[in-house]
Structures are given as C-alpha cells and as structure tokens.
C-alpha cells in the first residue's frame, strides 16, 4: 500500500535553488528555483520519484506509482 510521506520546507527567493527534505531519507535536497506544483523530481539520494505538492511552503511527497493506463 502506498503511504504518503510529506516533508515541508520554506522557499527563500525566486532565484535561489529551493532546499527541501527528501521525504524518504530525510536528507536535504536541492530543487530548481522554478519548481512547479505537480512537478516530478527524481530524488538525488535514492532516485525515487517525488512530487511537489505545494510551494509555499515547499512540500514533497513520494510520487504515485506507474499505472497501467499511463502514457501518450
């Protein structure tokens, strides 16, 4: 079963990279300054796909797993 884990961080400015906590490992990871809500980020720590849930504050959650009807 998929259990959502959310971690909250705070943005600094519009040009600085955003620092956030990896919800799987707890390590601090860097997100691009122009990160979008809904964007999928590959965790540089584990490679796990993380979804940006909100920007203010920045909230990351483990992204949903691939489903059969996903694609083009």
């Amino acid at each position: 079963m998929f259990l959502a884990t959310r971690v909250v961080c705070t943005m600094t400015s519009e040009t600085d990279p955003v620092l956030a906590e990896d919800p799987i490992t707890g390590e601090e990871i860097e997100l691009p300054a122009d990160v979008e809500v809904g964007e999928i980020i590959d965790s540089p720590v584990t490679g796990t796909e993380l979804e940006v849930i909100s920007l203010d504050p920045v909230t990351l959650e483990e992204a949903p797993e691939l489903e059969e009807d996903w694609g083009e």
Partner: protein, 302 residues
Amino acid sequence: MRVGVLYSRIRRDEKLLLEALRDRGHAVEKIDVRDQRFGLTATTAPVEDLDVVVDRCLSTSRSLYATQFLETYGVPVVNAPETADICADKAKNSLALAAADVPTPETEVAFTTDAAMEAIESFGYPCVLKPVVGSWGRLMAKIDSKSAAEAILEHKATLGHYEHKVFYVQEFVDKPGRDIRVLAADGEPIAAMTRAADHWLTNAAKGGETAAFDLDEAATTLVERASEAVGGGLLGIDLMEVGGTDSGAYTVHEVNHTVEFKALTQATDVDVPARIVDWLEATVAAFDDSDQTDIDTDEVTA
C-alpha cells in the same frame, strides 16, 4: 490568451510547455485533474474564462473522461475527445488508419486465447501481441514460437483486467533498427526524429537512441493523412520504414494524442514548445473566428 493545462503530473514536457506559454505572455491555469469533480453540467475545474484547455493527462482514462466533460460544457479542448478516443485504443487507431487508406501493419483482434492463437498462427512467427491500451512499449510481446505464444496468451488471460482479453495481434514489421516519431499539429510536422535500438522496441521511453530526421514527401503526406484519420490535433505519429531506410515506403503503426516531446526537443534544433504555442494561438484564433461566424449567421437568419 488564457490557457488551461489539464495534468496529473508535471513532466519535463509540461514544464517546457508552461515556460513557453508564460514566455509568450499567456495566462496559464494549471488544473490538476486529480483534484476536480466533473458533473453533467458543471465542474469544479476553473475553466469558465479559458480560451482553450490543453489535455496533458498522463492517465488515458482521465484524459478520455475529462475531455469529454469539458467538451460537453462548451469548453474548447485540445486534443478533442473524439481524437483521444481513437488514439487511446490501438484497435480503434488501426481501424481509423485503415479506413483512411493509410498504410498500417496488418492487424487482427480476437477475444479468446483459442482465437488469438489462430490469429498468431495465421501471421506466422515472429508476430506481435500488444495491449489495446498502454504506452511506452509496456506489455508488448514479440512472439517467436508457438510455445511462446501459448505461454503469453495464458499469462494475459489471467492478468485480470478485461482489456487483456482483447488480443491485438499484429504482423511483425522488419524495420531497419529504428522507427520514426513525428510531432505534428493538425497534420503539419513540427519535428521528427528516429528512435534506434538493437531491441525490437525502439521507444524513447525504452532507451531508444534518438536523432533528427528529415521527412521526405511521402512521409510528410502520410503524417498529414494519419492526422486527418484520427481527427487532427497535436499528435505523435509513429512510422516505420518498410524495405529499408532508402525505400521511401512507410507504414504508420500508431498515433498518440497526449504526445511527449522532450526527446524531440533534445534530438532536433526545433524549438518544439514554441511551435506548440504557435499552434495553440492559431487554434484559439480559429475558435474565435468560428464563434464570430456563428454570431454573424444568427444575425442574418434572425
């Protein structure tokens, strides 16, 4: 213009499109389809004042329903639900291409493992078995022998979902180690690339190596006809070269309606997101002209 982007995850493709729309000064409304409800006459999605909604749903089922609801409300949506309906299903896709006399691989659909086995035997080995819904090369099988066919059919029959009991059997096209992906807007090519691999599946999602490709007249014409066959829109049209790279003969094996384009952006010199925005601007202008024509006609007939 005011553009809604219907999504469930922002991939690199959506991010490029959002950037291009904002760079052009367009107002963007991101609509996460997972948060919305769609009633028979109204939706929670903020679509009232939008000039167009671009369907970028990753999930085919959400794409099919959401676009149908939006069209019912009178919200302009691309691609149209009719196009999505054809492209989302490989059987409908094949039927539409064949009906338009677009060359496409020989295909049979069967509903039982016995009938599917007969189809496979009639094609001979190798042949290909695909799920009718799916993408990125998932669950596709190149069948090299009768014993492999028996095993694969047994597995598919026990997978559970009824769609796996719709057996889509296709001739194996001996392509020259690559296929061709064309991004086209209402039949006009925006960019094209080859996807090459030693494996029989050459999808970029499967790690196929990409390179820019110059379309010849025959391929350009086929792209236009394939687009028209499924109702037009922003499409990813996949072709295979038949008889080698210099033959000038092609077959169209698939048309995709929520096309990914990040690989095309990397493989070609084309500013793909900007060209998509060009097309969206022209599409909205055409919607507006059509509305004005309707108003003029109403005034004349009143």
